[in-house]
């Protein structure tokens, strides 16, 4: 593929503006930091969007130009408008990749894609996290060693209320004695989904070099296959059936009618 993969990094961008610690760690915002990490890869074209922009920066025009959407939210899940949620989910079904970061396990979009509560346990103690590679052959683990470490992290622990992942790429070990499925993949429609746990805003986690490598690997992995998808629940009339067919019995629907939704 010689064309670049078009990445949109979305951030609610609340704590960077309201909390002095976060502002100091991420002067350009979490989205700005991640954008910097992705721009080092010249196969990627990188843009950002935030909650306060019109349509949260998620207009159809912008999504038309997006192959993979990276999502970070925490304090403002409830402020994301349902219309944008529906819009993003449709794009994912059509093939747009979706990377949910850290507290985005509780974002409207991620919960809707999973169909579960996405509950977990947590502890904010600045402890050490060691992220283990479960499959060194997975594209998202490319060029990583057996594990990498994050000096200060928020613990996210089991039980994590998700459907069984298609693949588990990372498992985390915590200084405080917990474990977590910290890197998981799923597919919904044709969209590839990756959840990656590290990223609490009170620590400079997105400046961590292996974390940045994971993000670059992940957007490559999540890029859509160049294929089509239908999602219209079409009626196939009897005279278009693959086998010759004559209509029998009563009918609720008229020929050519759309189904009930």
């Amino acid at each position: 593929m010689t064309e670049r993969i078009r990445i949109l990094i979305w951030n609610e961008n609340v704590h960077e503006r309201e909390n002095a610690t976060v502002a100091q760690i991420y002067p350009a915002g979490i989205h700005g930091c991640i954008a910097g990490a992705l721009k080092s890869d010249d196969q990627l074209q990188v843009r950002t969007a935030t909650l306060r922009e019109p349509e949260h920066g998620l207009s159809d025009a912008i999504l038309d130009q997006t192959d993979v959407l990276v999502w970070w939210g925490h304090a403002a899940h409830g402020r994301v408008q349902d219309e944008m949620v529906d819009r993003v989910i449709k794009r994912i079904w059509q093939g747009m990749g979706f990377i949910a970061l850290h507290s985005s396990h509780y974002s409207k979009i991620f919960k809707r894609l999973m169909g579960t509560s996405c509950s977990l346990t947590w502890r904010e103690a600045g402890e050490r996290e060691r992220v283990w590679v479960c499959n060194p052959g997975h594209p998202i683990a490319r060029d990583l060693g057996r594990y990498f470490e994050i000096e200060n992290t928020e613990m996210y622990g089991e039980p994590f209320a998700i459907p069984a992942p298609d693949e588990i790429v990372f498992l985390s070990w915590y200084e405080g004695g917990d474990v977590f499925r910290s890197g998981c993949t799923w597919k919904r429609g044709n969209g590839k989904i990756f959840y990656f746990a590290p990223g609490h805003e009170m620590y400079p986690i997105y400046f961590n070099s292996p974390v940045q490598l994971v993000l670059r690997n992940a957007v490559h992995w999540a890029a859509p296959d160049p294929v089509r998808w239908i999602d219209t629940c079409p009626q196939v009339p009897a005279d278009k059936a693959a086998e010759r067919l004559s209509i029998k019995g009563p009918r609720l629907h008229k020929e050519g009618e759309q189904g009930l939704k």
Copy 2:
């Protein structure tokens, strides 16, 4: 298990009241017909509920007494209140079984559980359907032969926009030349979910004897394991960590605080 499994059959009950053909086929409603089919099994305790009842017949008191919820909807998906949808989904996560019938592929509850569009193709021509057993050892296929037939059916065809099922119990062959994954299982939280395609209201499909057998088998299969589940995203304070831990660095959350949702 000597206690009976408590079944609640939910039906929107619209077409039986508004369409003369449906009224004639199902004088006691689709729910009444299915209730009759399940009551023949004395291990089951069977009740029904419909859209027009207060809280759609889905009060907490009733759900407290429900092990498996059977769902039929078609014309009135949009009239099911979101509060009831949320309530039912929480019960499913806690372990309540959920059987989605026919056009309920487009119900709010089923779509939320799947995280996909649940689109399919369809044709209302009264054609013949042959339902094949993919796994004769699956509990939902118990006492069925290699296949059974439905004389007049609405065709539901591929592509069916669902996440890969945990197991495919039935595949359907249609006279008009189509095929469909007509019996599929998933798990969400601790709830066992079964989608079963046959059941168009213009034909007396729920009087079909093998169809009734499938429904009896399915509610037995979907009955919850007697286990607990947590879904509160609890904070585990540092002094309760499994390993001795002292807090390092800045904190966003106060001790004992609930997380952001």
Copy 3:
């Protein structure tokens, strides 16, 4: 179910006879220790078998009376005859449950069921292991707390070369800094399979009370559903087809012939 579940505990029983430390820990053999743990549950009927018995104690007569087979092997995987391996695998396909313990990840049977190498990393340092419950609602986790601990264990670590499990019940945290998917389920044919990592023979792990509880829970979970299964690759002759069919074109096989295998 009022009938008891019939358990067969198989142990290669090599190190108990050849290594003084192991002999001292398990004077009745690992199989004897596990048998004791299961016999405390009067819903279970428990027997044992070892490598040195005729047919390794896995005669057809014995397997006819077995609902769930618990397997422990380490030093003698290669000495298990292929005929017994084939025999056990057929029973699993038919519905017999199979619990693979610890170093049985490398047993012929488990590797054949998985279709992967089942490689892992390991360290024998007597370190502490904490086994976390990933799904407190899973039947195998019944009556366990959030986690349990094993004072001295052999570390089994990622990457663990298995197909994506149907469900992950346990994840382990190790004192030495590693993690592992230590409790996983799959299905092959109608057999339910559970792999449980703890159990190095140099430490008294099967005397650990939560470990014993896991084993009791697991054999209940793995008990077969009372259903049938076919596995004969049968020819369905044209005159027995569901739709009327006349034979067209040349044929390789004769009517009624068995297929090539």
Copy 4:
């Protein structure tokens, strides 16, 4: 990717030499026909191998140059040497793609990868098969319509004794009234596996244009990601543990020793 994907088409090549009908249909062998279909794609580099060649044409030197192996066998599954089976399976675990065609559901390699019996039902009546696309967005379905037809086919029907596929790409409808999961994917280690049912040697199925398109799509899909994989079950000594660790208790293994297999 500018480098070509290196394909090896393996055929037992028995019936083309022993059966006059097959010889007439496939004068260049089934492998020759498929090679022609793939060579039309200049992103592919195509070679063939057959059972009678030294090492069945599966030497290490040849496998070193193979990204995706396409496999056709029927009459001679038992004559494939176990050493070659082991060799091929290791390559698959490392990432080599594997396409199993038609009666290869009963090949030693495919059965070993699945861990199930791979039984199905069948009928050789030259009936019509219609192959439906379950996911029009899947790379293996690229450029296909809603379905394609095969004028004369051998029926392969349910139940098909396989583990639940990662994805079902195709479902087949048969004139005789049966259905089949005729296009399925799995992963084992890092190898992508695709089973495709059409291909009975008594009919010219591999000359069918959509069938050829499926094969071209499939080898693209199955090409390995350029990643590494370990499969050696390495011991990690205590002094190399991620956390500082001192050895406690007795030991079975010596430092640096390989584990028991």
